[in-house]
Amino acid sequence: MAVVAAAAGWLLRLRAAGAEGHWRRLPGAGLARGFLHPAATVEDAAQRRQVAHFTFQPDPEPREYALETQSPLPRNFEMGQTQKMNLFQSVTSALDNSLAKDPTAVIFGEDVAFGGVFRCTVGLRDKYGKDRVFNTPLCEQGIVGFGIGIAVTGATAIAEIQFADYIFPAFDQIVNEAAKYRYRSGDLFNCGSLTIRSPWGCVGHGALYHSQSPEAFFAHCPGIKVVIPRSPFQAKGLLLSCIEDKNPCIFFEPKILYRAAAEEVPIEPYNIPLSQAEVIQEGSDVTLVAWGTQVHVIREVASMAKEKLGVSCEVIDLRTIIPWDVDTICKSVIKTGRLLISHEAPLTGGFASEISSTVQEECFLNLEAPISRVCGYDTPFPHIFEPFYIPDKWKCYDALRKMINY
């Protein structure tokens, strides 16, 4: 398949980049991490920046999710007619399905009319009209507040915040208004039909304000759901579930995967249940947990561990950050005894700390080693230092090795 060939190409380029550079030890890391010496030639410099820190791995078929037209859940269902889509196309497809099914659905945000900065809403305005897909002025707080207003009346509001880094002016509206509406009105009112979509995570050249992962800030707020997909197939199913969910949801889309991730996605709508983590690969020695782009990093780490250390890893994609699937993670840790959680957001107060804390409460006697968190540094997301900041596969592998040898 073309995707496998592309993946192999990425891996080869990764190895080539390492071989040409000088090796130097990162302070504190056990494993030498290769990076090119600053005085390298211009050619090396250009190559260095183009190498991604992960390889997108699409899921093998078949998948066990319900197509809306089918019930009950079949064991191996027919995916129906599928099309090769990348992440932004699968988002467009999900939005298309929503607008078609739900006459009250509206999409709004900055620059969504011409298709959006990442092309997630291409063609929707022409298809559904400018009263259903429209631009807003540059005011995040206004966008979310306005969205809450639409949702309270019962219409389906799908708001786009142009980058997750810009969601902070809207933080008050999300946390103080949207999350608490049902609670404070005693279920008289709710803004459940609000969904906020936002590009999320590092992208290689985003610097401080185009690369953040703010899921931890929202995890601290009961009343909303936060969902992060790892692939186009997951994105469409999860987004449709978020839109139909009767609670305000924030859907973060890993922007680096918008083009990099492509796979076969059904054209018809389908739902993937929220608050359910997925065990992508079964294993017996270590549990690896991540979400979004990082899932592909830990998948690679799992295969590296198998190859080099003979360690069998269980890889879990958390998918919904809150309310998170405690049972799946704990069951897995009871089986393996070791847990490694990885995310791009800074270490202190990142969501890995919540998972770590809950797991040690529930599975203390089953743990063979301290729970390991491999996350971003406790610094603002850096501009030029990004390749060193992100928890790439070498750092995860190193942490895994230390855990095995504990």
């Binding site: 009319a113 002025p137 902070f168 304000y209 540094y377 230092f385 750092k395």
Partner: protein, 261 residues
């Protein structure tokens, strides 16, 4: 300087923010920097204006933002504070007619950005005419310095290229429009014509300046690509102001970075 700006864009040590800021974060003496979150700098400007007033050194603060940012709530909060306390702040809205992909007619209920200050007097200035901008700023600075409070200026200008690397710049406007503005109201061209027509300078002299400038930019570009990047140790620097240096946790419990400031 140009060298520092280009070096900052490529993330080198010689950049204005030592390579740590990138394209949105140029800083210099008395230049308090760009902001990734547009509109965040307007309350900042009001604050600096308060400091100017407090220090009594007859300084004013110029706060620039765009037509897109003009719809942010915090700007109106800043207007209110500046007018209430008569802060010497010149709010300048650079109206280039498009907030990335959205034209001003589709984003703002009132495109008279100079009137948006409501209780703050506003000037509308032709941003493409350099002398016009200079005179308007002179007037505005004098107004602020006389203690009458803040003033708003709208500079009507245009953007030729896209908003950023990912914006082609033509999906929301026509190429003809861009060509038209470029040929009729390009500021450098207008000033050149004016100078040549009033015999203030000859075409050759202006060509010389052109050549000089080109050389300076090329040198700066060379510097920007050749300058070394900041050393890895600086990853953790300047997070907090801390003496003695403390340790920043890294990607896992075994990586620690020193943070010096």
């Amino acid at each position: 300087s140009v060298r520092e700006i280009l070096a900052e864009l490529t993330g080198r040590k010689g950049g204005c923010a030592k390579g740590k800021g990138g394209s949105m974060h140029m800083y210099a003496k008395n230049f308090y920097g760009g902001n990734g979150i547009v509109g965040a700098q307007v309350p900042l400007g009001a604050g600096i204006a308060l400091a100017c007033k407090y220090n009594g050194k007859d300084e004013v603060c110029l706060t620039l933002y765009g037509d897109g940012a003009a719809n942010q709530g915090q700007i109106f909060e800043a207007y209110n504070m500046a007018a209430l306390w008569k802060l010497p702040c010149i709010f300048i809205c650079e109206n280039n007619r498009y907030g990335m992909g959205t034209s001003v007619e589709r984003a703002a209920a009132s495109t008279d950005y100079y009137k948006r200050g409501d209780f703050i007097p506003g000037l509308r200035v032709d941003g493409m005419d350099i002398l016009c901008v200079r005179e308007a700023t002179r007037f505005a600075a004098a107004y602020c310095r006389s203690g009458k409070g803040p003033i708003l200026m709208e500079l009507q200008t245009y953007r030729y290229h896209g908003h950023s690397m990912s914006d082609p710049g033509v999906s929301y406007r026509t190429r003809e429009e861009i060509q038209e503005v470029r040929s009729k109201s390009d500021p450098i061209m207008l000033l050149k014509d004016r100078m040549v027509n009033s015999n203030l300078a000859s075409v050759e002299e202006l060509k010389e300046i052109d050549v000089e400038v080109r050389k300076e930019i090329e040198d700066a570009a060379q510097f920007a690509t050749a300058d070394p990047e900041p050393p890895l140790e600086e990853l953790g620097y300047h997070i907090y102001s801390s003496d003695p240096p403390f340790e920043v946790r890294g990607a896992n419990q075994w990586i620690k970075f020193k943070s010096v400031s």
